[in-house]
């Protein structure tokens, strides 16, 4: 697909020796990357602990993006639809958990039924059940959206489904912002458990005591960071397993490659598509809850930007590829954090997109993307 103006304008027969100017473009890219490496290198040398802290914050964002990106990449892989409503499913997940925790104090249910349970276990079980309910609600929501808004358009022009996706996204945001639904406020989120933070310095790991400042050159991190990282990696492993090893996963790949033939195998294509939406929504819901716990402020528009970033991450990694979404999300997180840390905060989104564009120019289908297959 790498057409050049020049190749095409040139006369069909040209006996002169070719003068390759490929080095010009390459030199440009190399100069650009050298500049970035230099910039990061000097900053690393200047203040290694700050650098490490920034890398950690980038990782946290990256892992959250990864959970959202999975839904985008899987849905796109199977129906070639940019599901703009995905970010809003993420938002709904956060809100469901908010209501469970804030209104119903749901995370304490094990303590009501089993008063002898140690509080640590109560918190763990309670939080997990909050997450599971949020995931279930998200799954129901996403499958309903799929039924109502996307399925009737499966044979329509692709753009029609894209416009409905935008419509659904608007609807969720603005309907959610009505006073009797979620209200438009930025709501401080009540966490189901307390955040504990630690710092590492030369003498080992210490927990941060409220009201004291960790020493200089310390690297800080919190239990939220660990949870997000572990959950995100587990989700990744689970999905790899699902897609590679299970019948449903193989069927998803078969459907994404060739729907009519998949039907000839006895695969219920609609079911597989719904299942894909459901899986994506479940992890978006999970991501929503963790995101809300981590940053503890929610509102009905919270899904737009992480959704967009996650989608970009999915494209960066090669849309349709699950490890690609993961790697893309981590790159995205680092790009943002490093830009914020060392270049200029307002340019963050611009830099993130510039990276995307450059990566696409070098690898037109993303880092892990396979070349677009020619279907018969």
């Amino acid at each position: 697909m790498q057409n050049t103006l020049v190749e095409q304008n040139s006369p069909p027969v040209d006996l002169k020796p070719r003068m390759s100017l490929a080095w010009v473009g390459k030199a440009f890219l190399i100069a650009l990357s050298l500049l970035i490496v230099y910039l990061l290198g000097t900053n690393l040398a200047k203040n290694p602990s700050l650098f490490a802290n920034i890398i950690l914050s980038g990782l946290q964002m990256g892992f959250v993006y990864a959970m959202i990106a999975l839904g985008y990449t899987m849905v796109y892989g199977i129906v070639k639809l940019i599901n703009f409503a995905h970010g809003d499913v993420f938002m709904v997940g956060a809100f469901v958990s908010y209501y469970l925790v804030y209104r119903f104090n749901f995370q304490n249910w094990p303590a009501l039924f089993f008063p002898d349970m140690p509080p640590m276990v109560v918190v763990v079980i309670g939080t997990i059940s909050v997450i599971i309910i949020a995931m279930i609600v998200c799954v129901l929501l996403a499958t309903t959206i799929e039924r109502v808004a996307y399925k009737p358009l499966r044979n329509a022009p692709r753009i029609a489904a894209l416009i409905t996706a935008i419509g659904v996204s608007f609807f969720l945001e603005f309907f959610g912002a009505l006073n009797f639904v979620f209200s438009p406020r930025f709501i401080p989120y009540t966490r189901p458990f307390e955040v504990v933070a630690w710092y590492i310095d030369g003498s080992g790991i210490h927990s941060i005591v409220a009201g004291t400042q960790p020493p200089a050159n310390a690297i800080t991190f919190s239990n939220i960071f660990l949870i997000i990282m572990i959950v995100s990696i587990l989700v990744q492993i689970f999905l790899q397993f699902l897609v590679k090893q299970t019948k449903m996963g193989i069927a998803m790949r078969a459907v994404s490659y060739d729907k009519p033939t998949a039907r000839l195998m006895g695969i219920n294509v609609d079911q597989v598509i719904s299942f894909t939406f459901a899986i994506g929504a479940a992890f978006a819901g999970l991501g929503g809850v963790l995101y809300a716990i981590a940053y503890s402020s929610i509102n009905t528009q919270m899904g737009i930007l992480p959704g967009l970033k996650a989608f970009v991450a999915a494209v960066l990694g090669g849309i349709g590829s699950i490890p690609g979404a993961f790697v893309g999300a981590l790159i995205m997180g680092q790009a943002e954090a490093l830009t914020m840390g060392f270049i200029s905060t307002p340019m963050r989104d611009a830099v993130a997109f510039a990276i995307l564009i450059i990566v696409l120019l070098v690898r037109p289908t993303g880092i892990f993307g396979e070349p677009e297959n020619e279907k018969a």
Binding site: N53, P188, P214, S297, N299, P306, S344, T345, P346
Partner: protein, 392 residues
């Protein structure tokens, strides 16, 4: 042709909508007996900051309701026309054009955001319609490109200069801060303005700014900025942004072990401010709901009776609600004082008058900006309490 079916469908939608219209109509424009005075309330009910729109709408409509309960103004009933202006220029201009030309409104309360108030103010002055915004702090709202005051536009809040000065003074005198770190949102004129004036007055007083970091309003993760603050170890961190950002930043700062107090402006004020996270912080405000003044007490009481939060408890009015309430009251009071339903006279009355409002006793300076004391509020032990009142 199928196209006609769709047009048909559109018509049906329109019919259904119109069927709803008459039912709701009496509420909007019922008693026309003694005539009526229309006031438009432009509020961002959708868009990036719908929550500001909500407070503004509630504060302004409460004022209108109270006046109507007292029998209206000049013997006429006051009708509030609420328009969604989205905190964005285009819809705000459309809303202003609509209320001025379609509804023949002569008085506008709003918009909240400066970037919407500015184009509205141009239309209002062109059409000689009084506009009073509760909360737009950008000087361009009341001054034109040449720096001259716009005769028909007023704001009910102090401007960035005053507030920045008070924050600097408070940091210097009460917190005894020598070094400060500024966090600001480049894209937000309110934040930028406060930060600039703070820097100006703080350094003029001998303080040092040890760091200045920007972020964007859509950020949720501030750890990079906080990491830099942890390195710089300032005496005070200036964060003159809205409560939603404050919640995020202060919470994450606590988790990073940052002990320096945060200090900010009236944007902090909200029932949704997380007092646990912001503990130890201070902010300047137009009023405090815990103040002892009679005016404040009745306002808080009436507001709580009129509006409930999602748990069914009475809502505490935030500064946006208070300012919208004040703006509306100033406007109606001016109409009443002018004795005539005439925009030019009303504008004159506002410019010259003195008004007792929830946010203090207000007179307007030459740039139609109020001169009034600034309240400093402390966040301590999970509570937001009145700390002191500072005259700039």
């Amino acid at each position: 042709m199928r196209a006609f079916k769709v047009f048909g469908l559109l018509m049906v939608v329109v019919m259904v909508l119109s069927a709803c219209a008459p039912a709701a109509a009496p509420a909007a424009g019922g008693a026309a007996a003694g005539g009526e005075i229309k006031i438009a309330i432009l509020a961002p009910l959708s868009g990036p900051v719908p929550t500001f729109g909500l407070s503004t709408k509630e504060g302004a409509t409460l004022a209108v309701k109270e006046w109507n309960d007292k029998g209206g103004v000049l013997g006429k009933k006051i009708v509030a026309i609420v328009e969604d202006s989205q905190c964005t220029p285009d819809p705000a201009v459309n809303a202003a054009n609509k209320v001025i030309n379609q509804d023949k409104v002569k008085y506008i309360v709003g918009e909240v955001c400066s970037k919407a108030s500015i184009p509205v103010s141009e239309i209002a002055n062109e059409k000689k319609v009084v506009q009073i915004s509760g909360t737009s702090t950008n000087p361009s709202v009341v001054r034109d490109a040449a720096g001259k005051v716009k005769p028909f536009t007023f704001v009910a809040c102090f401007n960035d200069d005053t507030q920045g000065k008070v924050i600097a003074k408070f940091a210097k005198e009460n917190i005894k801060a020598k070094t400060a770190f500024i966090m600001l949102d480049q894209a937000n004129d309110y934040v930028k303005g406060l930060a600039e004036y703070f820097e100006k007055y703080f350094t003029a007083d001998g303080g040092t700014i040890v760091g200045k970091e920007t972020y964007t309003s859509k950020d949720t993760d501030f750890s990079t900025v906080l990491a830099k603050i942890a390195e710089a170890k300032p005496d005070v961190v200036v964060l003159p942004d809205y409560y939603n950002i404050v919640n995020l930043v202060t919470k994450q700062a606590k988790e990073k072990g940052i002990t320096a107090p945060f200090i900010g402006g009236d944007g902090w004020d909200s029932p949704d401010l997380d007092p646990k996270a912001a503990d130890g912080g201070f902010f300047t405000n137009h009023y405090s709901p815990t103040e002892d003044r009679e005016k404040v007490k009745t306002f808080v009481k009436n507001y709580g009776e009129a509006y409930k939060n999602d748990k069914g408890e009475p809502k505490t009015p935030d500064a946006l609600a208070a300012l919208a309430y004040d703006a509306t009251n100033i406007l109606i009071e001016a109409i009443s004082k002018a004795g005539e339903d005439d925009a030019t006279k009303v504008a004159d009355t506002i410019a010259k008058g003195k008004f007792e409002a929830v946010s203090g006793s207000i007179t307007f300076d030459e740039f139609h900006t109020p001169i009034k004391p600034v309240t400093v509020i402390a966040v301590k032990d999970g509570k937001v309490t009145f700390n002191s009142q500072v005259m700039p």
